[in-house]
Symmetry: C2
Subunit: 385 residues, 2 copies
């Protein structure tokens, strides 16, 4: 049968030849990769490059572009010149990277474009290329584990009357959900960062693998995780009518989830967390709806503006420590050690008398996805207990 398919593909290929080969920037498919390198897990089907080296944590990139004048790689804030061989294939090898996910771009004659051989990820408000840097034991908790039961990430559209538009969400449902048709579950609302979208936690964050592992090992209680968009894309016809995203969360999204899934609807069974701007949106949503949430997390996103000081921030929610602790079972604040660190503000809140704060630092990481995978892995086990 394979032979039949091959003959057939030959004739099919001609149909697609133009689309496939015109001005292509594919990497070569057949040459063996250099010693120690493997195709990145973020590559598309069949693509050999970019290739990653788990020992050195370097990545090797290739672009086929005979007619280009200059090509650079832009990865983790550094630009690398790429060198051209006689066939017009450009390549370079990066410095060692932090493990986990990194956005990158290829600069072709100064225009930042995507590498079509890797999956597309939404970041900085446009489509972007991304690469996963592997390492040994670090990543076990965020990789697929065939030995345990797996939850499902459900892609759903719901109608927002505030937004005047259908809104897309992803909802993680634990593996046991359908085996227990009468059981109710707590819900974590989990928001992406600036310039990303509702797919970020699934695609860049590997949240399903993390939650599967935590639930299978008994570290976290089985829960539903709702991943909405933190941005307001509106119908151009009703753009004026669109409200604030925290209003959409509280008035449209939470009621839709409670209607559609088997959830506990009291605040003790509802949490919200977010990364970067999503952490700030978590503060705005939770602090304005204290009757709805009893657990919250802000990952690289505890931003206090102006000169009023942390004790007076967010309309005075921290002013009376006892009242805050009665209303909020957990305020989880996390950061990477290589980015702006809210440690002093956390200390100030603790000294002020607030007890239900947990502070978490991700060693050696900056404003990047490894920081947030670690934060989720540390945060989720603390919920609903």
């Amino acid at each position: 049968m394979k032979k039949t398919l091959l003959i057939l593909f030959g004739s099919l290929l001609s149909i697609f030849a133009e689309a496939q080969f015109a001005g292509m920037m594919r990497g070569p498919q057949t040459e063996p990769l250099p010693e120690g390198f493997k195709p990145a897990s973020t590559n598309t089907f069949l693509s050999q490059y970019p290739a990653v080296n788990a020992q050195t944590r370097q990545a090797m990139f290739r672009v086929v572009a005979p007619a280009a004048r200059s090509i650079q790689l832009d990865l983790s804030g550094k630009k690398y010149p790429m060198t051209r061989d006689e066939k017009g294939i450009w390549s370079c090898v990066s410095d060692p990277q932090v493990v986990g996910f990194h956005y990158y771009a290829i600069l072709i004659d100064s225009v930042a474009v995507m590498d079509r051989n890797t999956e597309a990820f939404f970041g900085s408000n446009w489509e972007s290329s991304g690469i996963e840097i592997p390492e040994g034991p670090e990543g076990d908790y965020y990789r697929f584990n065939r030995e345990i039961p797996h939850g499902q990430v459900r892609s759903i559209y719901y109608w927002s009357d505030i937004n005047g538009l259908e809104r897309h969400i992803n909802v993680y449902v634990p593996a046991e959900y359908e085996q227990n048709p009468e059981k109710k579950y707590p819900v974590l609302y989990l928001v992406h960062g600036w310039g990303e979208d509702e797919n970020g936690w699934s695609n860049q964050g590997h949240m399903a693998h993390i939650m599967d592992g935590l639930i299978a090992s008994g570290k976290a209680v089985p829960m539903i995780v709702v991943m909405p968009s933190g941005d307001i894309k509106t119908n151009p016809d009703v753009r004026q009518a669109s409200g604030d995203v925290t209003e959409i969360f509280a008035k449209n999204l939470v009621p839709y989830i409670d209607k559609t899934f088997r959830t506990y609807t009291d605040k003790e069974h509802r949490a919200m967390a977010g990364l970067s701007r999503g952490g700030f949106q978590t503060c705005m949503t939770v602090f304005n709806n204290m009757e709805m949430f009893a657990w919250m997390g802000t990952f690289s996103g505890f931003f206090v503006r102006g000169n009023e000081g942390v004790i007076n921030a967010f309309n005075g929610v921290f002013k009376d420590p006892q009242v805050f602790d009665q209303q909020m079972k957990l305020l989880f604040i996390s950061t990477g050690t290589e980015e702006r660190n809210p440690k002093e503000q956390v200390e100030e809140l603790k000294a002020h008398g607030i007890k239900n704060i947990v502070f978490h630092e991700s060693e050696g990481t900056a404003h990047e996805w490894l920081t947030w995978r670690r934060a989720l892995n540390d945060f989720a086990p603390k919920l609903f207990k």
Copy 2:
């Protein structure tokens, strides 16, 4: 609160400034669009371009690339030169297009790249840009309808021992599925075309909107739709061990689905269909496993190779018309009128005595997604009755 956010975003923006603005090819965000044009529904959040005109069915493209020497648009097999204004913004307007989904690329100095302002779609075995051309009544059946209940598309990984790797599938579950925890459902396996992946039917095909409409109106019976990958991406460590994709479907996928969902497991409640190469894979899978499937569809994918003729094709499955009709309740063969048409072969099979064939033509469309959206819309109501 909006003001707070704005102030905060100002400071956050500086963190992301380099990633966001370096060598950018964004379209301008603020200018009003020309009369009759709206942002395409395939655009990412905030992007004004490409813009589409529902009356003329034209699309307008813009690329910001001051340093590029020449830029072309490549859409539906035609290249359009783009013209540069004094700010380095390049633009062009396309010919009228068939409504529905079309892949496209931007050629920057001869290199085919993606437009980062539109969602990414996997086609021709790499990431690609795509645009949805709107029209009035035609698209009602494949657009989101807020008045009806909605099913869910579930993103799932399952383990394939033939493949030596976890495999990603999408599974559409009808809206009523969770309201009926004892009810079992029939299953349609639905495969993408050459160079696409398991996300194609959801993203390019709008299958969930189509199925929601057919089920809500009573035209189709509620069913589960499983969308697997028709390609064999393998673990590089076990590449030698990987088998045929039809073997993976029959031996790993179907048992996994029957274990994971509430399905009927007899052949009368199992169908398979695919587009283009997926239609051919459907023939190979079903004709080699006649005890597993009683319904099948091949959309622009009824390929008979060599000189043996259609009656003798596929190892003689059509030779005895009565045996075929006893085993197969429906062989649905469809095509666009503007592509290679298997009409004569269908007539030959009918003249040979096979009764359970339905032939469907999509008027005025070629080897493209509108052909396949129409095919699914016509095929699904005929199943499991």
